[in-house]
């Protein structure tokens, strides 16, 4: 089942009257349960593509359909609500809310969805335990290591049961152990819960784990390789 369908999208910026095509005529689709990495050198358009997939940015031309919904048809709060219910985000710099504990950070999304307190708590504790932070529920981000913060970010992204998770260079600020640990958790969630993960990354370890690797250069897809899953 297609989760994402991208039809010939471009993103053009004008810089000092010079047009820069950050994404240039990309056609792409993702199925439910994919574990895909978008790779490419800096400036190749990875983050721009991911931002458009997440509804954080709009394409200059072309269409993005998520679960059958044309993203261009959503405006203002509709788009924000769409993200809330359908897309999970994991950012390079974790981007947790510093004044909230690990549990509250993950719960934050569910509260905005209007989920009752008891249900919220059960799900959040379950998720944080799944990412190995069952004993750090009440710790604020400043008391957690980078790896732990990123695991909270994964739990937050998963909390709303999104259609897919977009992770923009999620391992860029992590050491080897934390990276290994985080990738194992995400791979396990993908395998067992059939959650779709799409990464943008430079990290060879992520590429190695990915089941599909899409390579971008100058805003265009130059390869789209599906690996055999063992």
């Amino acid at each position: 089942m297609k989760v994402i369908d991208i039809k010939n999208i471009t993103k053009t910026y004008t810089d000092s009257e010079v047009e820069v095509h950050a994404v240039n005529g990309v056609n792409l689709s993702f199925e439910q349960g994919e574990f895909a990495a978008i790779v490419g050198p800096s400036g190749s358009g990875k983050t721009t593509l991911l931002n458009m997939l997440g509804g954080l940015d709009t394409p200059t031309s072309g269409e993005i359909h998520i679960g059958g919904t044309n993203m261009a048809s959503l405006k203002g709060s509709q788009l924000i609500d769409f993200r809330l219910y359908n897309i999970g985000f994991v950012f390079q710099a974790y981007n947790l809310i510093p004044v909230l504990t690990a549990k509250e950070n993950a719960e934050f999304i569910l509260q905005m969805q209007g989920i009752p307190k008891k249900e919220r708590e059960t799900r959040v504790v379950e998720l944080l335990t799944a990412v190995g932070l069952g004993d750090r529920l009440d710790s604020r981000p400043s008391k957690l290591s980078g790896g732990q913060q990123q695991r909270v970010a994964v739990a937050r992204a998963l909390a709303s049961k999104p259609k897919f998770i977009l992770a923009d260079e999620p391992t860029a600020n992590l050491d080897s152990n934390s990276t290994e640990n985080l990738l194992d958790i995400m791979e396990e969630l993908n395998r067992e819960e059939k959650i779709t993960f799409i990464f943008s990354t430079h990290d060879a370890r992520v590429v190695k784990k990915a089941h599909r690797v899409i390579t971008l250069e100058d805003g265009k897809i130059i390869s789209d390789e599906v690996k055999a899953i063992h």
Binding site: G54, I80, L84, F89, F91
Partner: protein, 405 residues
């Protein structure tokens, strides 16, 4: 975890900055409350002094008296009229007066002046006239004598025991003439009042002016000045158009003008204080928003509506303002309450000059709740205006730009 809790925690992310901002508000609220309380307390006392010196809080006249102050524009203060006055709630005392212009003469010296007929007992209860006797004695009821103000006595060369010849026009054209021995000399603190003329017993004044049972005014004293407008309209309504009722600020508009002028001077000071509050909060709010650009972007990215984000930011600004106001009042209220009961005495040299003008020599404070409600409202409005900044920032947040910040 609700939005108010998030906002509360956010303002304490940078404790020292929040403490400094709150302190700026505390100092401004403290100073403006103390200053306003002292100003209003002093005005109130000044009005009391002026009112008790001569005018009373209210005066009842013939409807034409204020336009043309002649003996013909007098009225008969009937028992019914005096009952209406004395039974109106808030009235503590009243006294009748009959006054007109007269020529005062002794030997070959003559000059003009006011001749004021007073009820010696009631007048003394209101204006404490006996306090100003310089030489001689105060009038007794139905006294035949006369009290002369000091400058008039000096220009006439009149002394105690001298007999003054008084000539004037009586009621409805009757001629008025009489002989009155000088019983006392009055020396007020104000030179202007010392030029006034003479006081005699009101019964003698009525005989002199052939204005039997009549009065030019009934002077009224109230429990406090705040009742002036209320009692004014109550008495005016009951008495109707046959009488005119004037309040102290209509009789002596220059006092009100002086207070208004002084008050506007205080307003400048308070505007400066409020600007300190405004800039203190605004500076903090700008920092709070700009250093969290990315965080705000993330919140919207993961699904927080901009309106909810604006609510959190609005609450943060309001908390800063409210904490400042609360702490400011916690400090200023007990101090003001103390000074309301214990006015600050003035240094002896200043005190002397105050006392010669019949004004009590101390700085008075007002505990009127309106002062504090006004302060709270002003700071609250300032905070609300400033909170527009983060609210607009949240509503106009550019997502990709914020996430790159």
């Amino acid at each position: 975890m609700n939005y108010s809790k998030v906002a509360w925690r956010n303002i304490w992310r940078n404790k020292s900055r929040t403490v400094i901002t709150v302190l700026a508000i505390v100092v401004a609220v403290f100073l403006s409350s103390i200053m306003t309380s002292m100003q209003e307390g002093t005005y109130s006392r000044m009005i009391d002094n002026v009112v008790k010196f001569y005018t009373g809080y209210l005066q009842v006249h013939h409807p034409d008296y204020w336009e043309k102050k002649t003996i013909n524009n007098t009225f008969i203060p009937t028992d019914t009229l005096l009952q209406v006055i004395s039974q109106t709630s808030g009235v503590t005392r009243y006294a009748e007066r009959l006054e007109s212009f007269t020529l005062l003469s002794v030997g070959d010296q003559t000059r003009g002046g006011a001749l004021i007929g007073i009820d010696p007992v009631r007048e003394n209860e209101i204006t404490n006239l006996s306090h100003w006797i310089d030489t001689g004695a105060y009038l007794k009821p139905h006294d035949d004598g006369l009290l002369l103000t000091s400058n008039v006595a000096k220009s006439l060369g009149a002394q105690l025991g001298d007999t003054l010849v008084l000539i004037s026009q009586g009621y409805h054209g009757a001629s008025a003439a009489g002989l009155f021995p000088v019983k006392g000399i009055i020396r007020f603190a104000s030179p202007q009042l010392n030029n006034l003329g003479a006081y005699i017993d009101i019964t003698r004044a009525r005989e002199f002016f052939s204005a039997y049972d009549r009065a030019t005014s009934v002077v009224i004293l109230l429990e406090n000045q705040d009742l002036t407008n209320e009692v004014h309209s109550q008495i005016a309504q009951t008495l109707g158009s046959r009488f005119s009722v004037k309040s102290w600020n209509e009789i002596q508009p220059e006092i009100q003008q002086m207070i208004d002028a002084d008050r506007s001077g205080g307003v400048v000071m308070k505007v400066i204080l409020y600007l300190i509050i405004a800039f203190g909060i605004f500076g903090t709010v700008i920092m709070m928003v700009s250093e969290r650009k990315r965080e705000l972007g993330v919140m919207v990215a993961v699904g927080m509506r901009k309106g909810r984000l604006a609510t959190i930011l609005l609450l943060e600004t309001l908390y800063l303002g409210l904490i400042g106001v609360a702490v400011g009042f916690a400090f200023s209220m007990p101090l003001i309450a103390y000074f309301v009961k214990h006015p600050i005495p003035l240094p002896s040299e200043v005190a002397k000059s105050y006392e010669t003008f019949g004004i009590e020599a101390a700085l008075y404070f007002s505990g009127n709740s309106i002062i504090f409600i006004r302060q709270i409202s002003i700071v609250f409005i300032i905070t609300l205006i400033i909170s527009l900044y983060p609210v607009l920032k949240a509503l106009n947040l550019k997502l990709t730009k914020s996430l790159r910040a």
